[in-house]
């Protein structure tokens, strides 16, 4: 019985989707010609990721990629984020950031203007809200994205 409870507890965090993205991160490459980039660093666990974005004249994110190392949660979050951001405007990216941030920290954020598919992915990542020490793992890539779009070169989740 206890094993089952443990499994469902841990599976809430380590869902298949997250394990898959953690093991096989998408858009895991350098993006030559990116016009926004930032280094995200979580000194607590040593997670470090370089995020690259290319936006066009209409502030639409044309391409996004990342490289780095981290735990399953932070790599999966970065990977899933890159998939979600492609084709979005900077403004939409901001909205998604706030939805993600709120969902991970337990704040009630309505999924207004969030695509259903994105909301599902964010909710998968939001399993960290039951693991306070791991919230920063899930949000590192997202803070890095914000920094990159604001042309800040570095962000640290200290």
């Amino acid at each position: 019985m206890r094993e089952t409870a443990l499994d469902s507890d841990l599976r809430d965090l380590y869902q298949d989707l997250i394990l898959d993205h953690g093991k096989h991160p998408r858009n895991f490459r350098v993006l030559p010609g990116a016009n926004h980039e930032a280094l995200g660093h979580n000194p607590l666990c040593g997670d470090r990721l370089m995020l690259y974005l290319t936006t066009d004249a209409k502030d639409i994110i044309q391409d996004v990629a990342f490289q780095g190392s981290g735990c399953a949660i932070s790599v999966a979050s970065a990977s899933m984020m890159t998939e979600m951001l492609k084709g979005k405007t900077i403004r939409e990216a901001e909205t998604l950031f706030h939805y993600m941030h709120g969902s991970c920290t337990g704040a009630a954020v309505a999924a207004t203007n969030i695509k259903e598919d994105d909301a599902d992915r964010v909710q998968a990542l939001a399993g960290v809200r039951h693991y306070p020490m791991r919230v920063k793992c899930a949000t590192l890539a997202w803070h890095t994205m914000q920094a990159a779009l604001k042309n800040e070169k570095k962000v640290s989740t200290e």
Binding site: A5, L6, A72, M133
Partner: protein
């Protein structure tokens, strides 16, 4: 399980076997566990297996009660009042200096300076001894294994006076070879500052040989003993260490208190660290004269109750005996090493036979932070991260490791719990 522990008076043997005479014959770990109230709890529905002792050790009831009793019955400021409580507090505070002196076999109790912790002790040496006796071009030797607390204070000093830091490499097994230390000692070497035991890998460094070598070329030696004092008997005179530092909280004592041991003549040659009350002989606005060590280095009201707690921790350890604790932990280390080696996706980092009961490891496909979370959900507390030794991690090509570190109250059952929990990691990250 019915062996009765007879509490013996504090007793110190003359040789290296400190406390041996006070120790009972059998190592009754289940009995000792009962001395630590915090261990008798469930975490996430599992019995707690506390394997994060290198970060901080838990506190026996004897320490908790000694501090409470002191605050309830004796507490006041020290070295000041003429009233009864001040006299009692001062006596008890100063008596702990003697307890620490005997614990590390220092020659005199005035060689024991109370600090906030080992970190402050190292900063104290850097800022007083370092600023007084070092000049541009002088060299300080460190090892690749050092904790940030034994790196950053020297870098800060380097940036002010232009000394050079020289780093001794380690072997792939995590050892510091005495030949490699010999290689870098030159007439410019003024200080060798090394850990006694690596907090990240568990390596026991050949500090006695290092000290001999350093002294032969006229250099002083500071030993960071944070991990050593809880794992083995330490004799600063036998080692001939010039400085030896440690924190109480890793020694089953309270936080906020640590020890700087310094040879009497060296401490006397050092200017004060901080200015304030309790460290002066006389003050006028024109001039202040300072007290002799150790009080010269203890400005302001110190952590009085915590000093009492440190004394109680040492007395508690004396009822068990560090030689016996070392032997028990050696058993734990051997058992854990064997069990962890049997996990095929796991790699132990730091494989030297010269190790204390600390095991750093990584697992294929699972980041240490994920390991830490999954273990925690099964009641097993380990550390995951860089262990405040980023240069070492970079050298090893690792962002982080998971670390299980053992203490006097850990059992083979704790290790079985660790191994079972690691199987769950494998399962999830298969």
């Amino acid at each position: 399980m019915s062996k009765i522990e007879v509490s013996s008076p504090v007793c110190y043997a003359p040789d290296n076997e400190l406390f041996a005479c006070a120790a009972p014959r059998h190592y009754t770990v289940e009995q000792y566990r009962k001395d630590f109230p915090i261990l008798a709890q469930q975490v996430h529905g599992h019995a707690l297996a506390y394997l994060d002792n290198a970060a901080s050790a838990q506190k026996p009831r004897m320490v908790i009660e000694a501090m409470q009793r002191f605050m309830e019955q004796d507490y006041s400021n020290i070295h000041r009042g003429v009233h009864e409580l001040s006299v009692r507090s001062t006596d008890k505070y100063e008596a702990v200096r003697g307890t620490v002196q005997r614990f590390i076999n220092a020659a005199y109790d005035d060689e024991i300076v109370f600090t906030r912790g080992a970190t402050e002790a190292i900063n104290l040496v850097a800022q007083t001894w370092g600023r007084t006796f070092l000049k541009a071009g002088d060299e300080i030797i460190l090892t690749m294994l050092e904790h940030h607390a034994n790196i950053v204070p020297w870098q800060m000093l380097r940036d002010v006076i232009g000394i050079k830091l020289v780093v001794v490499p380690i072997t792939p097994e995590g050892d510091v070879r005495i030949e490699d230390v010999r290689q870098v000692i030159t007439p410019r070497t003024k200080l060798v500052a090394v850990a006694h035991i690596s907090n990240a890998l568990g390596t026991v460094l050949p500090v006695a040989e290092i000290i001999k070598l350093a002294h032969a070329s006229g250099a002083r030696v500071l030993i960071d003993g944070c991990q050593a004092v809880s794992h083995m008997p330490v004799d600063v005179q036998a080692l001939d260490a010039d400085f030896y530092v440690f924190s109480a909280h890793k020694l089953y004592g309270p936080t906020g208190i640590g020890v700087l041991y310094g040879k009497r003549d060296i401490l006397k040659s050092m200017p004060p660290y901080q200015g304030g009350g309790d460290m002066i002989a006389s003050v006028t606005f024109a001039e202040t004269t300072y007290k002799e060590p150790p009080h010269r280095f203890e400005a302001g009201t110190p952590a009085i109750t915590e000093v009492i707690g440190l004394g109680a921790a040492i007395e508690y350890l004396s009822t068990i005996g560090l030689t016996r604790i070392a032997r028990h932990e050696k058993e734990l280390l051997a058992y854990a090493t064997e069990k962890l080696r049997a996990i095929n996706s796991l790699k132990i980092v730091g494989t030297t036979p010269n190790k204390a009961a600390i095991i750093s490891f990584v697992m294929q496909g699972a980041h240490p932070h994920d390991i830490g979370t999954i273990l925690d959900r099964q009641g097993v507390a380990v550390r995951a991260g860089h262990h405040c030794a980023q240069p070492l991690m970079e050298h090893l090509g690792l962002a982080a490791t998971a670390r299980a570190s053992f203490g006097l109250y850990n059992t083979l059952g704790d290790i079985d719990a660790l191994v079972a929990a690691l199987r769950k990691v494998q399962e999830i990250f298969a």
